[in-house]
C-alpha cells in the first residue's frame, strides 16, 4: 500500500510533465504570437519584446526555461530584482539570501501583472465558489440518494429522483439567466453579478468577509446553480449503487445473523455503496473547479475562468500554461486520492 502511494505520486509528476509538453506544443502550433495585433507593431519593438520574454529562443529552450522557473528553487542575493522574477514562494535565508520557488512568469496581455498575481487574486475566488458549490452538492445529493434507495419505489423515491432529474437537467448556462432574472431583476433580492470578497485572503483562499451577508449574497445564486447539477449526480449515483449493494448476498447474510437494520445499512451497505460515490467526488471537485468558467462567465465573477478564456484569444502563453498546469494538478491529485480510497474501501482490490 505504501509503495503504491509513492508510485502514484511519482506518476503524478510524469503526468504533469507530459501535460505541460502537450500544452506547450499546442500553444505554439497555433499561428501568430502574443504580439500579433490588428495594428501591427514595428518589427524592432516585436523583436525587443520577444527578446525580453525569451520568445526568440528555440522552442526546447523556452520550454526548459519555463520548467526551470516553475519547478526549481532559485537562491539569489536580492529580494526580487524585477517584477517578472517574483515567485509564489519566497523565503529569506540567513546571510541576506532569498530562496524563490514557483514562478509562472509574466502575463503578456496585462503587463503590470504576473501569472502569480492572477493565481493569488483570481484562483482563490474560484476555490471559494468551488468549495461552497461542493458543500451544496453533497448536502443535497447524499441524503437524497440514500433515502431514495432505502425507500425504493415509494413516493419518497419518486420525489427524490424528480428533484435529482430536475437538478441534472438544468445546466448553469440555462439556470444562470433564469435565477438572475427571478432573484436579481424581478425580486431584486440578490445582486445579479459580482463577488463579495477581495484579496488578501486568509490561508490563500478564505475570504475576510466570510461572516458578512455581503459575501453570501453574491455566493448564493452561483453556488446553487453549480451545486444542484452536481447534487443530482451524487444522488443518482448513491441511489444506483446502494440499490445494487442492498440486493447482494452478504447483506442478506448480515440481516440473517441478526444485525439491526441501522448497522446493516451504515456498516455493510453504505460502506460498499459509497465506493463509486467517493470515486466521483475527487474528480468532481476538480471538475467543479475547472468547470467554473461557465458560472463565472454567466454571473460576472472575477475567477480564473475569465482570465483563461481571454488568455487563449490573446495568446498569453504563460497564463494558458499556468492555468492548465494548475488545474491539471488539482485533477491528478484528486485521482490519486480516489485510487487510494478505492484500495482502502474495497480490500478485494489488489494492486500488484
Amino acid at each position: 500500500m505504501g509503495r503504491y502511494i509513492v508510485q502514484r505520486f511519482l506518476w503524478m509528476f510524469i503526468v504533469l510533465f507530459v501535460i505541460s509538453m502537450i500544452t506547450f506544443a499546442m500553444m505554439h502550433a497555433v499561428p501568430g504570437g502574443p504580439f500579433t495585433q490588428e495594428k501591427a507593431l514595428p518589427p524592432e519593438i516585436i523583436a525587443n519584446l520577444e527578446k525580453r520574454y525569451h520568445l526568440n529562443e528555440p522552442y526546447w529552450k523556452q520550454y526548459l526555461l519555463y520548467i526551470d522557473n516553475v519547478m526549481v528553487p532559485h537562491i539569489s542575493k536580492d529580494a526580487a530584482p524585477e517584477m517578472v522574477d517574483e515567485a509564489l514562494v519566497e523565503i529569506s535565508l540567513p546571510g541576506g539570501n532569498y530562496l524563490r520557488w514557483i514562478n509562472f512568469g509574466p502575463s503578456y496581455s496585462s503587463r503590470s501583472r504576473t501569472v502569480n498575481d492572477i493565481f493569488r487574486e483570481q484562483l482563490p475566488v474560484s476555490i471559494q465558489l468551488g468549495v461552497i458549490s461542493m458543500v451544496v452538492a453533497i448536502t443535497i445529493g447524499l441524503p437524497l440518494g440514500v433515502i431514495s434507495a432505502l425507500k425504493q419505489n415509494t413516493i419518497w423515491d419518486f420525489l427524490g429522483m424528480s428533484v435529482a432529474i430536475f437538478g441534472v437537467s438544468m445546466p448553469v448556462v440555462a439556470m444562470g439567466p433564469i435565477l438572475i432574472w427571478i432573484f436579481g431583476v424581478a425580486l431584486k433580492w440578490l445582486p445579479p453579478t459580482g463577488w463579495g470578497a477581495k484579496p488578501p485572503f486568509t490561508l490563500f483562499f478564505i475570504p475576510n468577509t466570510l461572516g458578512s451577508w455581503d459575501f453570501w449574497k453574491h455566493t448564493l445564486m452561483p453556488a446553487f446553480a453549480v451545486g444542484t447539477g452536481y447534487s443530482a449526480i451524487i444522488a443518482r449515483l448513491t441511489r444506483a449503487s446502494l440499490l445494487q449493494v442492498i440486493h447482494e448476498d452478504y447483506i442478506r447474510t448480515a440481516r440473517a445473523k441478526g444485525l439491526s437494520e441501522r448497522i446493516v445499512t451504515t456498516r455493510h451497505a453504505l460502506r460498499n455503496a459509497l465506493i463509486p460515490v467517493v470515486t466521483i467526488l475527487g474528480p468532481m471537485f476538480a471538475g467543479v473547479l475547472t468547470g467554473l468558467f461557465v458560472v463565472e462567465q454567466v454571473f460576472g465573477i472575477p475567477g480564473m475562468g475569465k482570465y483563461f478564456i481571454t488568455s487563449i484569444t490573446n495568446r498569453d502563453y504563460p497564463v494558458i500554461m499556468g492555468a492548465i498546469l494548475m488545474y491539471a494538478f488539482f485533477l491528478v491529485i484528486s485521482n490519486v486520492f480516489v485510487d487510494i480510497t478505492y484500495a482502502w474501501l474495497d480490500p478485494r482490490i489488489r494492486y500488484d
Partner: protein, 336 residues
C-alpha cells in the same frame, strides 16, 4: 444475476427466451417516465430533421424594422417589458436583437444539440467500454500501461482542453493550404456551421471517464467467484469479458453515459455561449442564451425561452436514461 435467478426461476426462463436486450426493451416500454422522455426525444429528433419544413422563417433572415419585437402573449407573462417593447405578432415567440425569428432559430438549434448528444454518447460508450474492460480484465502490465495513458488524458482539464483545441483548430486550420487534410477538415467544419471541431473536442475528452469506471468495476468483479468459475470451466478471455463481465458492468456504464449526454449538450451550449462553438449565423441554444443574457433586464424572454428549451431536452434525455437504467441493470431484476 445469479441472485434473482435463484429467487424467481420462472422469470429467468422467460429471460432466456427473450434474451438480455429484448428483455430490456420490454421493461423500458413499461416505464411511463421513460416513455415520455423517449417520446420527447423522438419529437426533438423529428423537429431537427424536418427543421426546414417546420420553421416559419429561415434562421438567418432579418427584419430590421422589428428588432426585439415581442408578441402580445409574451408581454402578459413579462409585464415589465410592455412600456418600451415593439409589439408585433409576426413572430410567434418574438424576434432577437437583429430581428430574426426566435422560434425558427430555436427549431434549427435542436439539430446541434441532438447531434452532439448522439456523437458524444457513441464515442464515450464504445471506446470507453472496450478500453476499460480490456484493461481491467487483463490487469498487470497491460492495465498499468493502459491506465497510465488514461491518467494523462484524464488529468487534462476537459473544458480547458476543449477550449484550447477549439482555438487551435479554428486558427491554424483556417490558414492551411487547399488540398491538405487540415484544409479539408476546416471546410467540412465550415459546411456544418462549426460542428466538426465540437465533436472532435468532445470525442477526445468523453471516453476516459467511461473507461475508468468500466475498469474499476471489472477490477472488483474479476475477483468474484463467478469469474473464477467461468475460468475454471475453461471459458476464453473474450467469452468471460463479453458474456460474464459486460452484462454486469453495463448497468453502471449506461447510467454513466446517460448522465453524460446532458453534459455534452451543455458543453456545446457553453462553447456557443462564450463564442467558441458554432459559427455566427448557425443557431445554437447556447448562443441564443448568450445573446439574450446581454439583455436580461430589458428582454428577459430572449434568454429564458432557449434556457427552458435546453432544460427540457436534458429532461427528456434524463427520463429516457433512467428508464434505460432500470431496464438494463440485471441486478435490479425481480425487485419491482
Amino acid at each position: 444475476m445469479t441472485n434473482s435467478e435463484m429467487m424467481i426461476p420462472e422469470a429467468s426462463d422467460q429471460d432466456k427466451e427473450r434474451g438480455l436486450w429484448m428483455d430490456a426493451l420490454y421493461r423500458l416500454a413499461q416505464n411511463k417516465a421513460s416513455l415520455i422522455g423517449g417520446g420527447m426525444v423522438i419529437l426533438l429528433i423529428l423537429m431537427a430533421i424536418f427543421a426546414n419544413y417546420i420553421a416559419p422563417y429561415s434562421f438567418s433572415e432579418q427584419d430590421r424594422q422589428l428588432t426585439d419585437a415581442v408578441p402580445q402573449w409574451v408581454t402578459v407573462i413579462f409585464p415589465t417589458i410592455k412600456p418600451y417593447a415593439e409589439i408585433s405578432d409576426k413572430f410567434s415567440i418574438g424576434a432577437d436583437y437583429v430581428g430574426r425569428d426566435m422560434l425558427s432559430r430555436f427549431i434549427y438549434g435542436a439539430r446541434i444539440s441532438l447531434v452532439v448528444a448522439i456523437v458524444g454518447a457513441t464515442i464515450s460508450l464504445f471506446i470507453g467500454t472496450v478500453y476499460g474492460l480490456t484493461s481491467g480484465f487483463f490487469g498487470g502490465q497491460v492495465d498499468n500501461l493502459m491506465m497510465r495513458f488514461v491518467d494523462i488524458m484524464y488529468a487534462f482539464p476537459s473544458m480547458l482542453m476543449i477550449i484550447l483545441m477549439m482555438a487551435f483548430f479554428r486558427s491554424s486550420f483556417a490558414e492551411s493550404e487547399p488540398g491538405s487534410l487540415s484544409y479539408m477538415m476546416n471546410s467540412v467544419d465550415q459546411r456544418f456551421g462549426g460542428m466538426l471541431f465540437i465533436f472532435v473536442g468532445i470525442g477526445i475528452t468523453a471516453w476516459m471517464g467511461t473507461a475508468r469506471l468500466a475498469r474499476g468495476q471489472v477490477l472488483s468483479l474479476r475477483e468474484q467467484e463467478f469469474t473464477l468459475a467461468a475460468k475454471a470451466l475453461g471459458a476464453s478471455s473474450s467469452r468471460i469479458i463479453f458474456k460474464h463481465l459486460l452484462p454486469n458492468v453495463l448497468g453502471p456504464l449506461m447510467i454513466r453515459v446517460t448522465l453524460a449526454i446532458p453534459g455534452y449538450i451543455s458543453t456545446e451550449a457553453f462553447l456557443s455561449f462564450i463564442g467558441l462553438g458554432v459559427n455566427a449565423p448557425t443557431p445554437s441554444w447556447g448562443s441564443m442564451i448568450a445573446d439574450g443574457a446581454v439583455a436580461i433586464r430589458t428582454y428577459p424572454h430572449q434568454a429564458i425561452f432557449p434556457a427552458i428549451a435546453l432544460s427540457f431536452t436534458m429532461f427528456a434525455f434524463n427520463f429516457l436514461g433512467d428508464g434505460l437504467r432500470d431496464a438494463l441493470d440485471p441486478r435490479l431484476r425481480g425487485t419491482q
